[in-house]
């Protein structure tokens, strides 16, 4: 393997690991704001407990998110020097804006959120929590804007040639509102809200199954169910908008999503399948003309296929892109089904009666995580062979000064460190969940568990 491949593996590995955490931070942040606001509004101690408990989980995800994020920023320079020189003029301002507007806001107020409970008034604390939450949302805005510029570059011109060539900004707002940024930012935000909502559902479903903290768990579960229902449906809309945009701006990527090769034919939409690149056929279950319908509202309009592009301009891993895209869609549908079903049972007043459903919710926390991951895999692998779409190839963007052994060294190092980090994260998360929202010190006002109730009556 050469420097390019190793650097790509390293970037993919470190970004995928990083991306476990920011969506959780944004999603949990939303719930912190909700719980704290409800506490201020109702003065019900249950919401206070929920806010305190989820702050601890938040602290765990946020801390890992920050440090693994610094790795990403550094890797642009260390592993992708040619890329950094090429895009710095444009991409840099988005990154600088992220740091100064978003990251400073979230990390600045984090101290107050975590340690300020006894030091500031409740409403000031809520303000700090909201600061952290909005900071993390802005972070997502700027970083997705920067990524979207790579997908659909706008507001720039190219200066110089060969090694000297670089993109220079001509219009800041055109760069910020490039053709794909709005759709992708909303898609990412909602993906994050769903991560948070399903984690809240999961942990409180677990408590309900164990008959612990039932009062606050019911409240939290219902709030999370509302959030999950609204946003899983909304995600369908932003996802559709995104795919529409891809069909216009990155037709090769869309063709890879559905394994569509033939340019003059209407495109099918697969529920699942397997792409055979050699024979240019997909084996699976499909709706004939389905993709054409989604894009053009009829089943017969042809959609640009992969064959319209020179072989060196197509994504190499069509089957992988196809699979990742379809896993994302399937999970999206599953989340809609699950939250609608839950809402229906709530309406019927039976939501907490089915233990199997609570167990489903316990494990469903993994689904948005997987969807977020594979969604990005599809988006980024579908962008290949370009690092900046149509302008700079990935194979020309890596650091020429870096040797294979150096990258191998850092890759192994990250692998070891991140494995350790992940094990510790899971261990501590598990501990926090088992420990629950109450401390030993406030044993007395803890709601009665089933066992204690039985003993007392």
């Amino acid at each position: 393997m050469d420097v390019e491949v190793l650097s790509r593996i390293q970037f993919a590995f470190t970004i995928a690991f990083h991306y476990i955490y920011p969506p959780l931070s944004i999603g949990i942040g939303l719930f912190l704001v909700i719980f704290e606001s409800l506490y201020l509004y109702t003065k019900n101690d249950g919401y206070h407990r929920l806010a305190r408990f989820w702050t601890k989980i938040f602290a765990l995800t946020f801390g890992i998110g920050v440090v693994t994020g610094i790795v990403m920023e550094f890797e642009f320079g260390t592993n992708w020097a040619v890329y950094s020189r090429y895009v710095g003029d444009v991409f840099g301002s988005a990154l600088a804006a992220e740091g100064i507007f978003a990251f400073a806001l979230e990390s600045g107020f984090l101290g107050v959120l975590l340690f300020g409970w006894n030091r500031v008034k409740p409403w000031v604390h809520l303000l700090a929590t909201a600061g952290v939450f909005f900071g993390s949302m802005f972070s997502a805005v700027w970083i997705v804007v920067a990524n979207s510029w790579q997908q659909t570059p706008a507001g720039f011109h190219v200066v110089g040639e060969g090694m000297e060539a670089r993109a220079e900004i001509t219009d800041f707002w055109a760069m910020v509102f490039n053709p794909s940024s709005v759709d992708r930012v909303t898609h990412v935000w909602i993906g994050a809200f769903l991560s948070g909502a399903f984690l809240v559902l999961s942990i409180h479903a677990y408590y309900l199954l164990k008959d612990r903290y039932t009062d606050i768990s019911r409240r939290a579960f219902k709030i999370a169910l509302v959030v999950a229902t609204i946003f899983s449906l909304a995600q369908l809309f932003t996802g559709h908008r995104s795919a529409d945009g891809v069909s216009v701006n990155q037709p090769a990527k869309l063709a890879a999503f559905e394994g569509h090769f033939d340019t003059s034919a209407p495109a099918d939409m697969y529920l699942f399948g397997w792409v055979d690149k050699e024979s240019q056929k997909v084996h699976g279950v499909y709706i004939p003309g389905g993709l054409s319908f989604l894009l053009h509202y009829d089943f017969v309009t042809p959609v640009t296929g992969l064959n319209a592009f020179a072989p060196e301009d197509r994504p190499a891993q069509v089957n992988a892109v196809f699979q990742f895209y379809h896993i994302m869609i399937s999970i999206g549908m599953l989340l809609i089904g699950l939250s609608l079903f839950g809402s229906y049972l709530w309406w019927k007043g039976k939501i907490f009666e089915y233990r199997w459903l609570l167990w489903v919710f316990v494990f469903a926390a993994l689904l948005p995580q997987v969807a977020n991951q594979v969604g990005w895999f599809a988006a980024e692998m579908g962008r290949q062979p370009w690092v900046v779409y149509g302008l700079l190839r990935t194979s020309e963007a890596f650091s020429l000064a870096v040797t294979k052994n150096q990258v191998l060294f850092s890759l192994i190092m990250f692998f070891v460190v991140y494995t350790l980090l992940f094990v510790l994260f899971i261990y501590l998360l598990d501990r926090k969940i088992k420990h629950g929202p109450y401390d030993e010190s406030d044993d007395d006002d803890r709601p009665l568990t089933k066992e204690i109730t039985e003993v007392l009556t």
């Binding site: 890992i64 790795v71 020097a81």
Partner: protein, 345 residues
């Protein structure tokens, strides 16, 4: 060349990046320094207090690195790309230590087992030491210049070249400076026996700094003469090293009077002044080529377009007061001695 208030845009942005890194040095400097002393505290309660002294602020301090890095990337992409890819190994080590340090802070208090706490104490302290050292090593390499050839391509061997004697010396100097700075910070945040122990440790820290700074200065004057040209040729600029000397001398004077607030101010000022000296000596270069000066990276051949720099100056002008506002709010909320409660690490 277009100018703004008499200075061209690359120079403005050079000042912005310099200011950000000096802010970073002052802020993360004291918490790296505090971490470096950590294993000197023997009792659990003292370690806990020392850790919580930086507890609410260390994450905010690290943001300055992200912003500084972002500003360098945005303002001088060529410098960012060349520096980071040439010093690949030290930057990767820096990342690992920053990860270990962060998780040590986060995870230490989550379990009661003695071995658990001890492991994270060591991890926290060793990574703080290494980070302070590596920052100095990177600076030392920038001061000496590196083997850049045509098209800003690094021509060195890449693996261990960064660990040369001069860089080791600047690394030790930055470690000793941060340890002094960190001890003063901890003195502001502690009481009782820990406070007494720290006054004692601070003296050692100051001696450590004086000695290593002295050696580094001699080394620089003797072996890297180009780094003192500007000061020797320009009488007004000579004020800067003089001020630095006075600022350094003020630290032990004020520490002896137990006026730690002012001592902290002067150790912070020292960090700034040392970076200002570096900036004056380098300007308008950013990274000298040891192969041929014509390959050196300057603020002009590394800068983004004027348009880009203008946009970002506006971003910085809007953003900086906000950042200073949040920072002030957090420090005011947690001012005074450390008080442990159930939210502490």
């Amino acid at each position: 060349m277009e100018t703004f208030l008499g200075l061209d845009y690359p120079t403005w942005w050079f000042l912005v990046v310099g200011a950000l890194f000096s802010g970073y040095g002052i802020l993360d400097g004291f918490d790296f320094g505090a971490g470096a002393w950590h294993l000197f505290f023997k009792k659990e309660i003292n370690r806990k207090i020392a850790l919580n002294a930086i507890g609410p602020v260390w994450d905010g301090n690290e943001v300055w690195l992200v912003i500084g890095g972002g500003a360098l990337f945005a303002g001088f992409p060529v410098m960012y790309a060349t520096l980071f890819s040439s010093l690949y190994i030290p930057f990767m080590l820096f990342l690992v230590f920053i990860i270990f340090r962060a998780i040590a802070i986060e995870f230490r208090g989550k379990e009661d087992m003695a071995w658990w706490r001890k492991t994270w104490d060591i991890s926290y302290s060793v990574s703080s030491i290494m980070l302070a050292f590596l920052l100095g090593v990177v600076l030392g390499n920038i001061l000496q210049g590196i083997a850049i050839g045509e098209n800003f391509m690094y021509q060195g061997d890449g693996f261990l070249e960064f660990l040369n004697p001069y860089a080791i010396m600047t690394g030790i100097t930055s470690l000793s400076l941060f340890m002094t700075h960190g001890a003063i910070y901890l003195l502001l945040k502690t009481e009782g026996r820990l406070y007494a122990q720290l006054t004692f440790l601070l003296k050692k820290g100051m001696i450590f700094f004086m000695v290593s700074y002295g050696i580094t200065t001699l080394y620089t004057l003797l072996y890297i003469p180009h780094l003192s040209d500007d000061f020797q040729n320009n009488k007004i600029l000579f004020l800067v090293p003089l001020l630095t000397f006075l600022s350094i001398a003020n630290v032990p004077r004020l520490a002896n009077k137990r006026s730690f607030r002012w001592a902290f101010f002067f150790s912070a000022l020292t960090i700034s002044l040392l970076l200002i000296m570096v900036a004056i000596e380098l300007y308008p270069n950013m990274l000298l080529s040891t192969i041929d000066p014509k390959y050196s990276i300057t603020i002009y051949n590394a800068a983004s377009s004027n348009k880009s720099l203008q946009i970002m100056l506006i971003i910085a002008a809007i953003g900086t007061p906000l950042v200073l506002g949040y920072t002030a709010f957090v420090y005011l909320t947690f001012k005074g001695k450390v008080k442990l409660d159930e939210t502490s690490y």
